[in-house]
């Protein structure tokens, strides 16, 4: 095991590296840099995300893992004073190319947030939101999407009798599963999850974790988590980030059992975090 050198070209020599586990590549992050004003928040990050795998981003607070996640679907565009360098590619299409249609891009990469954020609308309207902004009006299509997505997020049996009631009447865990249903209603390719369980109790958390493992059959999942046990339980691939750099990425068992860098080991054994 070696310590992280002070000046890093931490990106592996082979670019793009193959996703671990032999999966096809969905997303490539290619020498990506990001500055909030003068702060260099992401430093030369390169990684690939494999199809129908769960990739977990772990690391201590402020290491840039959420920033990286939000860079994938360009949600960071909403922030003023933001600069980026390098590129992200979704199945070979550049995400940061000039003139790219950000909106259609985001439709291919749905997102679930840290704090459950259902719209103050009915359960039904929450799920079909993405379809509605796409101009979908056919009731049959919308109804089908609602049932499929709610089944997909393991919420259907609990809410099927009250899908026209306000989403705000649901419990916190149910709301978060509703947000997942909303995210998968438009059949995205990638599901981005930003600490989806951090505001939930242990029971709701374990349900979501089970759900993530199920979702893998259909979607590529990228999940940011604070909780290493969670990463160990759900992720096929784990990436460890530290101070804006991607320290190492590999199959979850390898990262947790045979980390290559001392920082990784220090983090997963709980010496900082």
């Amino acid at each position: 095991m070696t310590a992280l050198p002070d000046s890093l070209p931490s990106a592996p020599e082979v670019s793009p590296p193959r996703p671990p586990g032999g999966a096809a590549t969905v997303l490539e992050v290619d020498h990506f840099n990001l500055w909030y004003g003068p702060t260099h928040a992401l430093k030369d990050v390169s990684m690939t995300i494999g199809e129908r795998q769960v990739t977990a981003l772990i690391g201590p607070s402020g290491c840039g893992k959420s920033t990286l996640l939000r860079s994938l679907n360009r949600l960071n565009d909403l922030i003023d004073n933001l600069r980026t360098g390098g590129d992200v590619r979704l199945r070979g299409d550049s995400v940061y190319r000039r003139g790219v249609d950000v909106i259609s891009l985001r439709k291919r990469m749905s997102m679930v947030f840290q704090k459950q954020n259902p719209f103050p609308k009915s359960i039904y309207e929450n799920v079909v939101f993405g379809l509605r902004v796409d101009g979908e009006k056919r009731k049959a299509v919308l109804d089908e999407a609602v049932e499929r997505s709610l089944r997909g997020s393991a919420l259907w049996d609990e809410v099927k009798d009250r899908i026209h009631k306000s989403a705000l009447e649901l419990s916190g865990g149910q709301q978060q599963r509703l947000c997942i249903a909303r995210a998968i209603a438009t059949r995205p390719e990638v599901l981005l999850m930003d600490e989806p369980c951090s505001a939930l109790d242990p029971i709701a958390t374990s349900r979501i974790e089970d759900l993530i493992v199920d979702l893998k059959r259909e979607f590529t999942v990228v999940i940011v988590t604070h909780n290493m046990q969670q990463a160990a339980r759900v992720a096929d691939v784990t990436a460890f980030m530290y101070l804006g750099r991607l320290v190492e990425v590999g199959e979850t068992t390898q990262i947790f059992e045979r980390p290559r860098f001392s920082e990784t080991e220090a983090y997963i054994t709980g010496r900082y975090g």
Binding site: R106, F113, F119, P120, F129, G130, L170, T186
Partner: protein
């Protein structure tokens, strides 16, 4: 670490707990709130008390004076006044004696309390509500019918003594029916015909302006117009004759009253002049309450009479509501769109800050300045252009080129738009970032996010701004005086006549009505109580409009805010 038991005790506060805990300041806040509450309760109490007392039927008192004369009327108040060169104090009674034309135009009188020999409340004294000249107090002596026989006017007594009152009441009912039929004619057919005549005259002027008199077409068109006018005038004559017949019938039925002292009036008056008789001295308490409510209802539902000194305020209520609604229709979209741009789309910088400061300062501009602007811009500039473009036939008579309810509403919309902008901006800023991100992450464009998520969530805040704007607009008077309010409007700005809404019409307004009855009235004593009553109605109206909007807002708030953290 030191052992806690060995630490020295904290020194006592030099002022004791009283000052340390801020009790003087807590009491100051309480006192200020109490003063505020007292002032609000006081002002509302005075308005409600005086406003309702206007309609309370007071007893008719008969004062027998030491010099043998008799004064009959409602006692308004007693006061100790200083009189004479030596300004000695003397108690006087302020009495409304009614019968205005009989007593030389003044129906209020001060009498010296010491000169009163005795007072009584005779049961049979009546209070007459009349079309003109305010109330009359007294009794009915004779009901008469006047006829013209051989070119001479002959009066015949129909009823006298005990039967006279019943005959008068029957006569009042008949007169009311005649009045209703006459008004129907005047406001229906006669109005239509006279508008048609106006229209013919407009076209005649237009013809003279556009076609040369020696053009053969001129003679043809002129003949057409002449024929049309002749037909209309014939129809008008017929209608006017019908009205004349009704008026003639009104003049046939007369009543001779006597005043409280028992002296008959010099001449009998037409029964159609009397609207109601109330035996106020016989009424029980419940009866008085009933009469008070009935009078208040008539105040609300009838047009004013006698230069706003008598009658009701219905057109003013109507004008106020309609103007406020039109203003709201303009100000809300305008303010919300402006706030959306400022908050959501504009790049924040010194230019936008300057716009914001300017908008906030608009709220501090004296409202009369808005009135001047409204008159110059809306009435003369925009209205003048509208007239030249669409109503050229009617010129030089202005249609939109003068004051009107549309221009007044627009002026008030301008006055209140800062309120809407500021509260909408605050509401937009309060929409949680997480909801915006959720929408954007679902692939919504910025506009879709605003329309589907941000605006619904901000709608309670936007409605708060609307409520504030409506309250401000409904109570504003000064700008209206320049842009379309008048003392007495013949026609309502929204009525059954096509095109139903007449945005060019002048209108009456409660705020202006208060000013008019309070300060422009020829008879201050008679109109002062109406100032309170009108104020009461205006306060009630603003309260009602606000309650409506607040209910709506609370419903929305409940819809959007329940259980977010549940």
């Amino acid at each position: 670490m030191a052992d806690a038991s060995k630490l020295p005790p904290l020194p006592p506060s030099p002022y004791g707990r009283f000052f340390r805990d801020g009790h003087p300041w807590i009491w100051t806040t309480r006192a200020v709130t109490a003063v505020l509450l007292l002032m609000v309760v006081g002002i509302v109490g005075i308005v409600v008390f005086n406003g309702l007392r206007t309609f309370w039927p007071r007893r008719l008192v008969r004062y027998e004076m030491k010099d043998g004369s008799v004064v009959v009327g409602e006692e308004i108040r007693r006061e100790v006044r200083r009189v004479g060169l030596d300004s000695r104090e003397q108690e006087e009674v302020f009495v409304r004696v009614g019968n205005r034309e009989k007593y030389g135009g003044n129906d209020f009188r001060w009498i010296v309390a010491a000169d009163v020999k005795s007072t009584s409340v005779p049961e049979d004294l009546l209070s007459f509500e009349r079309m003109e000249h305010g109330p009359a107090y007294g009794r009915v002596r004779q009901v008469l019918e006047a006829d013209v026989v051989d070119g001479r006017r002959v009066q015949k007594v129909v009823a006298e003594g005990k039967g006279a009152l019943a005959a008068l009441e029957r006569g009042i009912v008949e007169a009311a029916e005649r009045r209703a039929s006459r008004l129907e004619l005047q406001e229906g057919e006669i109005d239509t015909v006279s508008r048609a005549v106006d229209d013919v005259n407009d076209r005649r002027r237009w013809l003279a302006r556009t076609v040369e008199p020696d053009d053969p077409a001129f003679a043809v068109r002129k003949a057409e117009l002449d024929r049309e006018e002749a037909t209309l005038q014939e129809r008008q004559q017929g209608l006017l004759q019908k009205v004349g017949a009704v008026l003639k019938e009104d003049r046939r039925h007369l009543v001779l009253l006597e005043d409280g002292a028992g002296d008959p009036w010099p001449r009998p008056v037409a029964i159609s002049q009397v609207l109601r008789i109330d035996a106020v001295n016989e009424l029980s308490f419940v009866g008085r309450v009933g009469l008070c409510v009935a009078r208040f209802w008539r105040f609300l539902s009838q047009p004013p009479r006698e230069a706003n000194m008598d009658g009701g305020i219905w057109p003013a209520i109507y004008g106020t509501i309609l103007m406020t609604l039109i203003m709201t229709i303009f100000v809300v979209p305008f303010g919300v769109l402006a706030a959306l741009y400022l908050r959501e789309y504009a790049k924040q910088g010194w230019a936008i800050s300057a716009v914001r400061v300017a908008v906030n300062n608009l709220a501090g501009v004296p409202s009369i300045v808005f009135g001047v602007f409204g008159l110059g811009f809306f009435c003369y500039l925009v209205g003048g252009w509208v007239d030249r473009t669409f109503f050229e036939q009617r010129l030089p008579t202005p249609t939109f080129g003068g004051g009107g309810i549309l221009w007044a509403s627009l002026t008030l919309a301008l006055l209140t738009v800062p309120v809407v902008i500021v509260s909408t901006e605050e509401a937009l800023a309060a929409v949680p970032r997480s909801l915006r991100e959720a929408a954007i992450a679902c692939g919504a464009s910025k506009w879709q996010t605003i329309r589907r998520v941000v605006l619904p969530y901000a709608s309670p805040g936007i409605l708060t701004g609307t409520i504030l704007a409506m309250a401000r607009g409904a109570g504003e008077v000064a700008p209206l005086m320049l842009t379309g309010v008048i003392k007495l409007a013949e026609d309502l700005p929204l009525d059954g006549e096509a095109p139903f809404l007449h945005p060019e019409r002048k209108f009456m307004h409660l705020g202006f009505h208060i000013y008019d009855t309070g300060f422009q009235s020829p008879n201050v004593d008679a109109s002062t109580p109406l100032v309170y009553s009108t104020t009461l109605v205006l306060l009630g109206l603003v309260l009602l409009l606000n309650l409506g909007a607040i209910t709506l807002r609370n419903r929305l708030r409940k819809k959007f805010r329940t259980g977010v953290f549940g």
